[in-house]
């Protein structure tokens, strides 16, 4: 034992030596290879984009809620997009909607969520020094940064950014004559997305290989925290579906710039018949949604993983149905690839194909339902501590239910005829995918902030932030169901031109007001985040008394995460409130042999095996020590 202690000590010294080679500012904060720094880079960039995306939505909500309002005060920001009478330009309105969608889906909820937490947590929770390839990881962030920079530039060009909806369906997105945003703005959109796809792929490959290869001793797949399962499956989905979006975008580039006709046919526009024939706009929709639907799960699964972890920790209870949770996530992963055409029921798709996709779509509701019931049972008879992270996780479950259930309407092709492309859809996906994932992101930040910055965020501000946001999100999106059932179409600059949709001025005004308040409430979070980074209460090593590996590192882990040996794992991550145990949690690093009082019968049998392994290890260690 003495030798062991000594070897750890010498390791410590060695590591300290390392730290004395002070890294330069650039290699530490900018072109960092360290997964923790890259995770933080993704987070900060994600927050930046979330503010932009939110701001855009506030502008178009002003138009929808207060159509008579004169927007002169926005002139310094929007310039020519506000006309003389103070009205927002209708084409710029469409550009706002498009950019809001693109930014939120890709930059905030894909890069900001997966990028942050997969990078930050995978090595810490599986017991690895870093990602499989630090260089690729750095490249992944910087490609994302370039994608963001290009998209940002496109917001300010004269013809405006892409304006064909975030799905950028051709021919609208292919023809400059159709809408000015389809000129340079669309070109920049495509270039930006190409960088983004490359970034996601580099990240995804890294996450997958890290999880498969770099797990510490004892960390079998059946002992992985659900967060890691979620990040792992998310990366697989991304790896399989993003290339298809790239293909779709590439063909669109050809149609736009090189005169091909993949998506274009029989078009007469701006007084001229185009030569393109034989293409099909529906082909684009198939390719787009082959990514587009899995994308929903790319943003949702990490949030669900984070929630599982936070709910278990703060309920002081094992997550209910660990295996069932994994099986449902696997089910969602596989099914997410075979439901895409439910976005296309009324696109002119063969109706028989529509019915197949209706069956497949409603199957995917089953694993989702299982997850909800498991969350509920985890709360049941727990001992709940409402940290801000926990509150946001409960909020997530609520949104997941509300938005998930409306999916059953939309997945049913017969009902979808009426609801497709109305505000019902807007309400549905903003709850189930937008708000739920956003809550997962925020919950994760509150929960892992002490690990990221060594300090605690303020709880009370967290509570205020939660209640304002939770209530706000429902006030924004719940009324949209009524508007949608009444048939209000999406992406309308104004509804007053139609008699079936010229009522509900009051409701739209209400939604807009709620959206502005909810957006403003996010500044509480921003303050809390940046203030606590420097002035927050110092965190201890395991502030939530959690079981997973990241809480065995020093408060602020350096390069390599653990100063000494990487800890070995002896049990699953959810030993909370185990009967007989001294405390209400047992860390993954505590051997079963050390807790005879709380072992379950089948675990008691494993103790012998465990002891043998430990003895062998000891021998190896001693032998190594003797050699050196």
């Amino acid at each position: 034992m003495a030798t062991l202690a000594q070897s750890t000590a010498s390791h410590d010294a060695h590591d300290h030596d390392h730290e004395h080679h002070e890294e330069g500012f650039i290699s530490k904060y900018i072109f960092s290879y360290d997964h923790k720094m890259i995770g933080k880079q993704f987070l900060i960039t994600g927050i930046f984009w979330a503010i932009i995306g939110g701001l855009l939505s506030v502008i178009f909500r002003l138009q929808l809620g207060f159509p008579d309002l004169e927007l002169h005060f926005l002139k310094p920001l929007l310039g020519g997009w506000i006309d003389e009478s103070g009205k927002l330009d209708p084409e710029f309105y469409l550009a706002l909607v498009t950019m809001h969608g693109t930014i939120m889906v890709f930059f905030v909820l894909t890069a900001g969520l997966s990028g942050t937490f997969s990078n930050f947590l995978i090595p810490l929770q599986i017991g690895a020094r870093d990602m499989a390839s630090g260089f690729m990881n750095m490249l992944s962030y910087w490609l994302f940064f370039v994608a963001g920079a290009i998209m940002f530039v496109s917001l300010f060009i004269e013809t405006g950014p892409a304006a064909g909806g975030w799905v950028v369906y051709p021919p609208l997105s292919a023809l400059e004559q159709a809408i000015p945003g389809s000129g340079l703005g669309m070109t920049l959109w495509l270039i930006s997305m190409t960088f983004f796809i490359a970034s996601s792929l580099l990240g995804g490959i890294n996450y997958i290989s890290t999880v498969i290869n770099l797990r510490t001793k004892g960390m079998s797949f059946s002992r992985l925290p659900l967060t890691i399962w979620a990040f792992f499956l998310t990366a697989i989905i991304g790896l399989l579906s993003f290339p298809v979006l790239f293909a779709a975008a590439l063909l669109l580039v050809f149609d736009r710039s090189f005169g091909t006709s993949f998506y274009l046919s029989d078009i007469y526009i701006a007084g001229e018949a185009l030569p393109n024939t034989g293409g099909s706009p529906v082909l684009y929709q198939h390719l787009f949604w082959f990514l587009g639907h899995p994308e929903v799960y790319i943003v949702l699964l990490p949030a669900l993983g984070i929630t599982s972890e936070i709910i278990a920790t703060n309920s002081r209870k094992p997550i209910f149905g660990y295996k069932a949770m994994i099986i449902s996530m696997l089910g969602i992963t596989i099914l997410s690839f075979v439901v895409w055409a439910h976005h296309m029921f009324v696109s002119g798709l063969n109706p028989f194909l529509g019915s197949i996709f209706m069956f497949l779509t409603l199957i995917i509701a089953i694993p989702s339902a299982v997850k909800v019931f498991n969350y509920l049972t985890t709360l049941w008879r727990g001992n709940l501590i409402f940290t801000p992270g926990m509150l946001f996780s409960i909020g997530l479950v609520s949104f997941f239910i509300s938005g998930g259930l409306t999916g059953i309407f939309l997945g049913n092709s017969a009902i979808d005829i009426q609801l497709h492309d109305t505000y019902f859809v807007v309400a549905h996906f903003h709850l189930v995918m937008g708000s739920a994932s956003f809550f997962g992101l925020v919950a994760g930040v509150y929960h892992w902030f002490p690990k990221m910055f060594g300090r605690m965020m303020d709880n009370r501000l967290g509570y205020i932030h939660f209640w304002l946001t939770f209530v706000g999100v429902y006030l924004v999106f719940f009324p949209m169901h009524y508007i949608g059932i009444a048939g209000f179409p999406r992406r309308y600059y104004s509804w007053t031109g139609f008699e079936f949709s010229n009522m509900y001025e009051d409701l739209n005004m209400f939604v807009s007001a709620a959206a502005i308040v909810t957006f403003a409430a996010q500044f509480i979070f921003l303050f809390n985040f940046f203030y606590s980074m420097y002035r927050g209460r110092k965190a201890n090593q395991n502030p939530w008394r959690s079981t997973t590996l990241e809480w065995t590192t020093p408060v602020l882990p350096g390069h390599g995460n653990w100063p000494g040996e990487i800890p070995t794992v002896y049990r699953w991550p959810y030993d909370y409130s185990k009967p007989g145990a001294k405390e209400d949690f047992i860390m993954q690093t505590v051997p079963l042999s050390a807790t005879p009082e709380s072992n379950l019968p089948h675990e008691q049998e494993l103790v012998k095996l465990e002891k043998e392994i430990m003895a062998e290890e000891q021998e190896v260690l001693v032998a190594n020590e003797a050699k050196s």
Binding site: L94, L172, A178, L376, Q418
Partner: protein, 344 residues
Amino acid sequence: MYGFLIAVGVVLLLSLIWMVYRIQTLVSVVKGSDKKIASSSNSVNAFLFIVFLVLFGGLMVWYSVKEFDNYTLPVASEHGIETDKLFWVTMAVTGFIFIITHILLFIFPYKYRYDEKRTASFYPDNNKLEVIWTVVPAIVLTVLVIGGYQTWSDITAPAPEKSHQVELMGYQFGWEVRYPGMDGVLGSHDYRLTSGTNASGIDFTDKNALDDFTSPVVVIPKGEPVEFKIRSRDVLHSVFAPHMRLKMDAVPGMPTRFWFVPTKTTAEMRQELGNDEFVYEIACTEICGRGHNAMRRVIEVVEPAEYRKWMAEQKPYIVNNPSLVENLTPDLKELAEITISEHK
């Protein structure tokens, strides 16, 4: 000046918030509540979940009942009655689950809020429960899907042979409506023939096109099958007739269709709603550019007899634009001239 005052106000407000924040932080440090596992805020948060449940549950029920007639559009097609039925059955099922799960989700936090004296139960799994809540949703969903499948198959089945055809062609930004005329067959079209006088690109070398006519309003008979032949000549559009529960994309290069049976004339609907100005409308639901929100057409549903009378009164394209048939072959030209003289 006002700007300055507002700025001062904002600064004062922010510093006030700042003070309150600092004071409560210091108080919590003095009280030592930041050392506790769960402070008194824990119960407050737990209680707020109950408040939220009651308040929002009440608000939802109140608004759903009060505004029912406003947000439910009257239905005016045979298949629409079926899809509405499906909608409300799904609403009942999901509404039930929605309420039950939310009651549990918000009551559990209150009931099981942190208590030092209690330990959580170690309850990691129960396969029987998992099977139950896999199988039960599966059965419920199967029932819903089968209902949906049957309705969907009926709606998308080929239109009955006798159905009246109307062509709706989307363009930036409007709908061009074309009727087949007395022969009941729409003449063929080619987008390259599109011009100022021939918006739909009708190919007049097809003799079926000679009696085709256009109309500013979509007139259709009540109680008889109508088939919309839908196409687009520039970007994607989507025909949406909310009262007919009808929606179908207009795709350039790929004609689509949707058939239905209107059940109430415009006049009947006006009487039913007590609104003399009521009209059935068509809107566009696929983003198509600047005028996306202005692609309006009115549908007028009339009694079949009235429809036939109206049809007989309409004048073919070529009557008003004889130049369209100038370059036809002699026999077609003769046919065209007969058509024109018939309608003079």
